[in-house]
Amino acid sequence: MAWTRKDLVSMQDLEPAEIGDVLDTAESMKEIATREIKKVPTLRGKTVVNLFYEASTRTRTSFEIAGKWLSADVINFSASGSSADKGESFLDTAKNIEAMSPDVVVVRHKAAGGPALLARHLRCAVVNAGDGAHEHPTQALLDLLTIREKKGHLEGLNVTIVGDITHSRVARSNIHGMRKMGMTVTVAGPPTLIPPACQEMGVKVSHRLEEAIAHADVIMMLRLQHERMTGGFIPSLREYSRVWGLSLDRLQHCRPDVLIMHPGPVNRGVEISPEVADSPYSVILDQVTNGVAVRMAVLYLLAGGKAA
């Protein structure tokens, strides 16, 4: 296998072969979810700590299930209501946890760069479960797995990511991952929500939804956060939804085999209409299933090697 890294911090760091390793491993591990006894002994005796500074039930639960199905001991450490509240610094908290000898620390933090800092300072493996607006690598990996499963391949596909790209770690990770796998990426949204120099990341930028999704094989809708309104980026949710929301009649002008994806949680009626979310084009729930498989694969690849 190509994977020899101690940590998974960003998609930007990975080679296509490493991404392939994760996807292949995840695919092989999917069948565990179909067993009556969802357990394999692979990570027995390994300890995985979920260090989540930002509330996130979905991602954390996904990592927890992944770890438990692999027989690892999974500990959830939610930093609100903990020493972090009492003013303990991020690095101190992480070092304290390391002193308890975990094998993997999965960290989500609202500040970009946190997991990179931990990866440098901690001996154990570090997985980035989302750092501010920077990256969310396991999300991109599960998105790639889902697309590959449905389309049979990745190279040459056209993907359009729609929404608040500026504040989206999911968008950044996917842009890096998709480009490495030979896909063409277009980002679409109001100019205020497209980050500076975005084109230089190797993507096409569009400010017209219909145009951007017309030839897409995959449309990925991003969640619009309410803070964007108060921040003066868009005038109102109503206008955003009207101009940028994916409705059923907008969908009619897309390819008949288009996939609709969303990292969740979905704001029904804002970025995506309920009919579209529940339509046969949507693979949103497959994304969730694949999330567990991908996280099992990542834990397997990181928790075994003593190469570091």
């Binding site: 296998m1 994977w3 092989s28 069948e31 006894i37 002994p41 692999l70 075994g304 090697g305 003593k306």
Partner: protein, 208 residues
């Protein structure tokens, strides 16, 4: 690591006859009970398929065939530099109450079979598990014994046994290999570890 062929143990005809005999033995012992073959990836799967074909020829009915990847059950994970590749397990039938015959190409230390049994137990509760191997080369490290053997082959530890099958290697042959003169046993062992790869592996590299 460089090896050279020391001797051919089975040619294509010999291999085929061995599988035919194994097929008969399995059928005889099963006595009509519900039977399934589970091949251990990768070459065990191919052999299971062939044996199933033999049994179809004998009984007129082909037994169910599944494939098992034991990577997640290995006892040597975490002590290797790289994680071994995980392949998928496909057992599309219930195991409860069935006679399962595990099929593998070479039986050596027994650790692979131990892992395979653990995997099967996690997947269901077979009535009985039996073991069919093409080659038994000795040097067991665990108390595991095969029920059906193609050929017993005493070997020394530094030798390696390579099972070649048309589907994977373009020909049907079993050979014994030994390391080239200058090669130390440790070097050969390390080479075996490194050679645990799909397709063109010429020898069994799963055991530890």
């Amino acid at each position: 690591m460089t090896v050279r062929e020391k001797a051919e143990v089975l040619d294509a005809a010999g291999l085929d006859r061995a599988l035919t005999r194994i097929g008969h033995e399995i059928v005889e012992q099963a006595g009509g009970a519900d039977l399934a073959l589970v091949g251990i990836k990768t070459r065990g799967e191919t052999l299971a398929d062939r044996i199933a074909g033999k049994i179809a020829g004998i009984e007129g009915k082909r037994p169910a065939v599944g494939a098992l990847d034991i990577t997640l059950y290995r006892d040597d994970l975490g002590s290797r530099a790289e994680q071994p590749q995980v392949r998928s397990t496909e057992i599309p039938f219930p195991l409860k109450g069935i006679t399962v015959v595990l099929v593998d190409d070479v039986l050596f230390t027994g650790r692979t079979i131990r892992a395979a049994m653990d995997a099967l137990m996690d997947l269901g509760r077979p009535r009985v598990i039996r073991l069919a191997v093409l080659i038994d080369r000795g040097h067991r490290e665990l108390p595991i014994r095969p029920d059906y053997v193609g050929k017993n082959l005493p070997t020394s530890r530094k030798e390696t046994v390579a099972v070649m099958l048309t589907e994977h290697d373009g020909q049907d042959r079993v050979v014994i290999q030994e390391p080239e003169e200058n090669e130390s046993p440790a070097g050969a062992q390390a080479g075996r570890e490194a050679a645990a790869k799909p397709r063109r592996t010429l020898r069994k590299g799963r055991e530890g």
